[in-house]
Subunit: 211 residues, 2 copies
Amino acid sequence: MCLVKERILKSALNLFWRYGIKSVTMDDIARDLGISKRTIYQHFSDKEAILAQVIEEEITSQKCEMQKLDEIAANPIEQIIYASGQMRDTLANMNPTLLYDLKKYYPKAWELFQTYKKEHLIKNIQDNLTEGIKQGFYRPDIDVEIFSLLRIEQTVMAFDPTIFPVRNFNMMHIQMQFLLHFLRGILSEKGFEYYNTIKDKSAIEINIHEK
Amino acid sequence: MCLVKERILKSALNLFWRYGIKSVTMDDIARDLGISKRTIYQHFSDKEAILAQVIEEEITSQKCEMQKLDEIAANPIEQIIYASGQMRDTLANMNPTLLYDLKKYYPKAWELFQTYKKEHLIKNIQDNLTEGIKQGFYRPDIDVEIFSLLRIEQTVMAFDPTIFPVRNFNMMHIQMQFLLHFLRGILSEKGFEYYNTIKDKSAIEINIHEK
């Protein structure tokens, strides 16, 4: 990819992340880069075109991160704990309106995220659950399909300002509470014993105690 | 309330429960009762008027049931276990499209349910959580406000056919999995020990093992 295009995507990602999508204009991106709007239009037809590519690249990079974590995790519980660390990094400085903006105003870009959710995220959680049950860390009576959907939808729920108004709740705190609760709810006795030996390394616990 | 009016409400509740709201007509209610549509219109201006009153009565009766359970429950965990039994009864034979029908096609009636959710259900869960923490059955680090919202919203989520298509999932099974998971996720060690001594009485466990 040419350098200018890459810089535009990087600037847009950064601005969307901090201010949400709706409030960022092509002028803002041009100003941020110190280039003319005309230069931006040479590469992208409009803000939605930038947004689509920003999301595609973000998805690719998240997939990559998740794969790395899965490789270094010794077992499914560690995998979730590492994922909580990744989530912590992703959410830091993220404007909490981002996902809702996407759903409400940018249906095409939202679709990209939905496809990623269905084809990748849910599968990743299902694999974690199946493996955790197999290794005896999770309860054998949890329904993998139902809990993979619960996990993903509660992550999305935390972004919904009609349920968790931005001014009253801290997004990171909600997500960490959800993740820790989700994990504890699926653990078997063996899983609990193991979790208690490693929880001090966990970003979930760290976050909750920091609050 | 006069007898005819009561019979109309009872018939409508029964039909809505079994077939959802959208597909039930004034003709169906008249036919079910063996009375003329004219008689129904003497008491209710339209189906929405019947629906509103059906919901109000259902809410009153649920409040009453919840209060009874709260009185006989020895502690917050028993309260949740009894509530699972009540939920089991309520969901038996309930058309899973009911709640979504309400949200999509009957916004005024949906508002009644929303108000009940905000003013009564959430408070009831908050009280349970606060008391459970106080008595040492639940973890002290759970955020009562966040988890009362999670609990109520995951109950609603189970009714969402865009997440859990009716043909692929059994509503009761989802709800019992959610409830058991929610409870396990909030328990302290003391809570777990106690829960293990009484779980065989629990409708949640019974349902999961029956599946």
